[in-house]
């Protein structure tokens, strides 16, 4: 920190002192709270993780099913997510939509989310309702019961979700286009929301088969976090989940992405794109792999805050972009590190690409500074403090470590792994992964002329 007091006098001197104090390369002096997690597995394979915190009388319950869009079969993209919606459409003892209306009626909150690797359901409720919530979650695991009419109606809702999230907003298609070009084989090439045609092709028989295969105790992790008594909670879990039959072996035969051995390029031009955008992606290892720690540190240095390298170069100094970032999408199978620049209007995408590549080259040519390394680690530590304030945030971290990272102990241990990262590690991973032959370059550009008759999709993916 090199703040210089422009105004003489005591106040100015004090300011400079304080600033110097804060930014002179010091690591933060706080420790994120440790999460003590109780763990057991029922005879039917259900994994149960308990985290007690009595500060507020609420409890967060989560069920993680280890199934996501990467498990969908060809022609059924979007199905895992459609299925998630159907989990609110009734089971033997809970009517369609009753799950939602009951939780709302007690002041609770709930939701569910489907990504590439898992489907997560959660409820946060006053803690005296824990037993009821466990009973409800067990009921839809045991006895999902969706009518044809509810299936059809909810499929329309999911199609509206796709329109709202992907088709209507500017840059809504960016990730879809980027992933379709980055992956050739692995199902990560398709967004969890899927395609309209595949959603239309889904049937109620698909729903039954999916439930029978993936919605079984041996594919589920139950996390309970907050104000409860562990002995009592364990008895309830046994009572409501214990008798649900164990399922078969879970299919895990997902096609692997072959190593990329040459740069790929694509250009997407459409009327709804308001500014030129440049995206560079590189394949990186799976979440939890050792090199991800150094890549995360690199991500902080590249793009966390207005003092970060990419912001400073592309947005602040050169003024060619409105935003710039470089970060990893961490996934259970090998993921991607992507660099994105949303350019100022009229800027050439080639120039944006050059500037991103120049920053990548810098990361490969010289070690990051000691101050940058401290900054990244400070940000990661602070992120663990700010990102784990609520019982829901803590349960998220616990579920992610257990299901996606495959190592529950990482929920407390990850910080130490980040602390070990050296400047040499960052240099090494930048060289190993940010190679041109491991790169996909996508330009997303506004249409320059009035819309043509043909749909914009037709131009998708055409090579430069």
């Amino acid at each position: 920190m090199n703040a210089t007091a422009k105004h003489a006098g005591l106040a100015g001197a004090l300011l400079a002192l304080l600033a110097a104090d804060a930014g002179a390369g010091n690591a933060l002096q706080v420790t994120p709270p440790k999460l003590e997690v109780g763990e057991r597995t029922l005879a039917n394979g259900l994994r149960v993780l308990l985290y007690e915190d009595h500060s507020v009388p609420i409890v967060n319950v989560q069920v993680w099913y280890h199934v996501g869009s990467k498990n969908e079969r060809p022609g059924r993209s979007g199905f895992a997510h459609l299925f998630e919606h159907l989990m609110f459409k009734g089971s033997a003892n809970v009517a369609s939509e009753e799950h939602k209306s009951f939780i709302s009626s007690i002041g609770g909150r709930f939701n569910a989310a489907t990504d590439f690797d898992r489907t997560q359901y959660w409820e946060t409720v006053p803690s005296n309702y824990l037993e009821r919530i466990l009973w409800m979650e067990a009921d839809r695991l045991r006895s999902l019961d969706v009518s044809e009419a509810n299936f059809r109606s909810e499929r329309e809702v999911v199609k509206e979700e796709r329109r709202q999230r992907v088709e209507n907003p500017p840059f809504g298609r960016l990730m879809e286009v980027v992933l379709a070009n980055t992956y050739t084989t692995h199902p990560y090439r398709i967004l969890p929301v899927g395609s309209m045609a595949d959603l239309d092709a889904a049937t109620l028989d698909d729903v039954r088969a999916f439930h029978a295969t993936y919605y079984v105790p041996n594919n589920a992790t139950l996390v309970i976090a907050g104000d409860f008594e562990p002995g009592q909670a364990t008895r309830w879990v046994e009572e409501y989940f214990g008798s649900i039959p164990k399922g078969g072996e879970i299919p895990r035969d997902v096609p692997a992405e072959p190593a990329q051995n040459g740069e790929r390029r694509a250009r997407d031009v459409r009327a709804g794109t308001p500014l030129p955008a440049v995206v560079l992606t590189y394949h990186v290892p799976r979440a939890g792999a050792a090199d991800l720690y150094a890549l995360e540190v690199a991500s902080n240095i590249l793009s966390s805050g207005e003092s970060s390298r990419l912001y400073r170069r592309l947005v602040y100094e050169k003024q060619i972009a409105v935003s710039a970032a470089g970060e990893a999408i961490e996934l259970e199978h090998p993921g991607v590190f992507f660099f994105v620049g949303i350019l100022q209007s009229g800027q050439k995408p080639e120039v944006g690409e050059q500037e991103l590549v120049a920053e990548i080259g810098r990361l490969q040519a010289e070690p990051v500074t000691a101050d940058e390394l401290t900054l990244a680690k400070n940000q990661i530590l602070a992120g663990l403090v700010f990102g784990r304030q609520t019982v829901q945030q803590r349960a998220d971290a616990i579920g992610n470590a257990a299901v996606i990272l495959g190592d529950l102990s990482l929920v407390n241990r990850a910080l130490a792994e980040y602390q070990k990262v050296s400047a040499a590690d960052v240099l090494r991973v930048a060289k190993v992964y940010f190679r041109p032959e491991n790169r996909t370059v996508v330009y997303m550009l506004p249409e320059e002329k009035p819309p043509a008759e043909k749909p914009a999709e037709k131009q998708n993916g055409s090579l430069r």
């Binding site: 006895s143 500017p170 009572e239 500014l275």
Partner: protein
């Protein structure tokens, strides 16, 4: 297979047998939906929840300070609010409030913009500023070992911003590109057009982001003057939240802000809430839209309105939860949307009610008529007791969730203090809300809500629904999205002006 425990104690033997059969059949996936259902376990005794303690002081310069302690996490945040939102912009300076707030962090008397950024980034904290309808706000959050820095930086950006010309130029260029993105975002166009249409020339109707034209006209003098006049201690509140003691927090606020000028009070002009005589429908034509963004609403209540609690329960019934009527009718029953919701915005003067949803182009008119019918139903029929109870508990039962973090508590305290309410209001809020009756709701729906003349804004592919709209709802105005001008009362660029892009 065991039946649910507490349900078993409260159930007749006959139903227990039926339930056991149901559970046994469950593996077959499609049980008969009409079969008897087992009741779920009943709740245990609830732990009492009270609004958390907080402490208040007022500095001699009028700055009101509140401290909410929370020592479980090693973090602290400072949240400052001041009457410097868009409602206090001088006439013709649309966008000035947000711009001034954005520029607070872009250079001070002793720090360049990049030094402000470096200071907060280095400690992994966040520093953000912004402006809403009435408030300018700034907040900083750091780990608790950075308390000195947190106070120092917040006070610096609030008291000593320097508005350097080169940062103004940077800001303008970036913000104009931000407006290009917004101009293609249907939800932004719908929200902005809705307020503009509803409030006309009243400040609540202003486009908070300004327009390319209004931003181009803002000068450094405007920022300096707005900051000098509106960022004043007598019109500000600050909350210190987290791992800090009240004595320390008050002492630090006094040290950091004692020299802040008191300034002069300011109020928002009165709003007329007379119902319009006819429905106004505005269609913004966006031919590339995959969905139509729908807004419908009216002017409504101020925060200090005696009907505040009735309005909140009304909203809970209509559109605050996924089980509320709008979502029930539009999403659950008809599959027309991913979501439908509503809200009241309750500022110092009567604000607005808006219902929002989006649907595929073909179902635009159906969605509008269904939403209007939902609102109309509240005045013609009394709300069933169970539904009313749920709607109230959706709000009151959420109190423990809202106060889980100190920042959540502070947000509620600041909201109350802005309106001139204090501890009493917060401690009795749930009691007052629980007292709302079906009779209150029907009176409110009849006297204060006007679905028949609500303003409707649609952003979508007009050609595909114009005829049906005319048949079902009558006349409407259309403005092409490319010709929108939020500075003009007809929302349309003057035909003679080709409105060249800024660069």
């Amino acid at each position: 297979m065991s039946a649910p425990r507490s349900a078993a104690t409260s159930r007749s033997p006959r139903r227990a047998v039926a339930a056991a059969l149901l559970l046994a059949a469950a593996g077959q996936v499609h049980a008969d939906s009409n079969a008897a259902k087992v009741a779920g376990p009943q709740p245990g005794p609830a732990r009492e929840v009270r609004f958390p303690a907080f402490e208040e002081q007022t500095l001699p310069n009028g700055l009101r300070v509140v401290v909410v302690q929370q020592h479980e996490q090693p973090l602290v945040s400072l949240q400052l609010l001041v009457k410097a939102g868009k409602s206090f912009e001088p006439a013709g300076k649309q966008g000035l409030a947000k711009a001034t707030a954005a520029l607070l962090t872009q250079g001070t008397a002793t720090r360049a913009a990049q030094q402000v950024a470096a200071a907060i980034d280095f400690v992994g904290g966040t520093l953000s500023t912004g402006a809403s309808v009435e408030a300018g706000f700034a907040s900083i959050a750091t780990t608790s070992d950075q308390l000195d820095l947190a106070f120092e930086l917040l006070a610096d950006v609030i008291l000593h911003p320097s508005f350097p010309q080169d940062e103004i130029d940077r800001w303008r260029k970036q913000t104009l590109d931000g407006l290009r993105i917004k101009s293609k975002t249907a939800g932004y166009l719908a929200n902005t057009a809705f307020l503009r249409t509803l409030f006309g020339e009243h400040p609540y109707g202003r486009p908070a982001d300004g327009t390319a034209e209004s931003l181009a006209a803002l000068s450094r003098e405007d920022f300096v003057a707005f900051h000098r006049e509106r960022y004043v201690a007598g019109q500000a509140l600050i909350a210190v939240v987290g791992d800090v003691t009240p004595a320390d927090a008050f002492a630090r606020v006094r040290r950091a802000f004692a020299g802040w000028a008191q300034g002069t009070p300011v109020e928002v002009p009165a709003v007329s809430t007379a119902a319009s005589s006819a429905r106004r429908i505005l269609v913004i034509d966006k031919p590339d839209a995959a969905q139509t963004e729908i807004r419908l609403g009216q002017t409504a209540i101020a925060f200090r309105d005696p009907d505040l609690y009735v309005a909140e329960v009304y909203n809970s019934l209509v559109g605050k939860s996924s089980s509320a009527r709008l979502n029930e009718e539009l999403r659950v029953r008809r599959g027309l949307t991913y979501g439908a919701s509503s809200s009241f915005t309750e500022p110092s003067q009567p604000g607005w009610f808006v219902a929002s949803t989006s649907t595929k182009t073909a179902s635009t008119v159906t969605a509008v008529t269904v939403a209007l019918d939902v609102l109309g139903g509240l005045s013609t029929e009394a709300v069933p007791a169970a539904e009313l109870a749920s709607a109230k508990t959706f709000i009151t039962g959420a109190l423990p969730l809202e106060i889980e973090t100190a920042a959540g508590t502070a947000g509620k305290v600041l909201e109350a203090m802005r309106a001139g309410y204090g501890r009493d209001f917060l401690e009795h809020y749930n009691e007052h809300l629980s007292g709302v009756t079906a009779v209150d709701l029907q009176r409110f729906a009849r006297e204060r809500m006007h679905p028949d003349t609500m303003t409707v804004v649609l952003v979508g592919n007009a050609a595909a629904f114009a005829q049906e709209l005319r048949e079902k709802l009558g006349a409407f105005e259309t403005v092409p999205a490319a010709k929108l001008d939020f500075l003009r009362s007809d929302l349309r660029t003057a035909e003679t002006d080709p409105a060249p892009p800024p660069h």
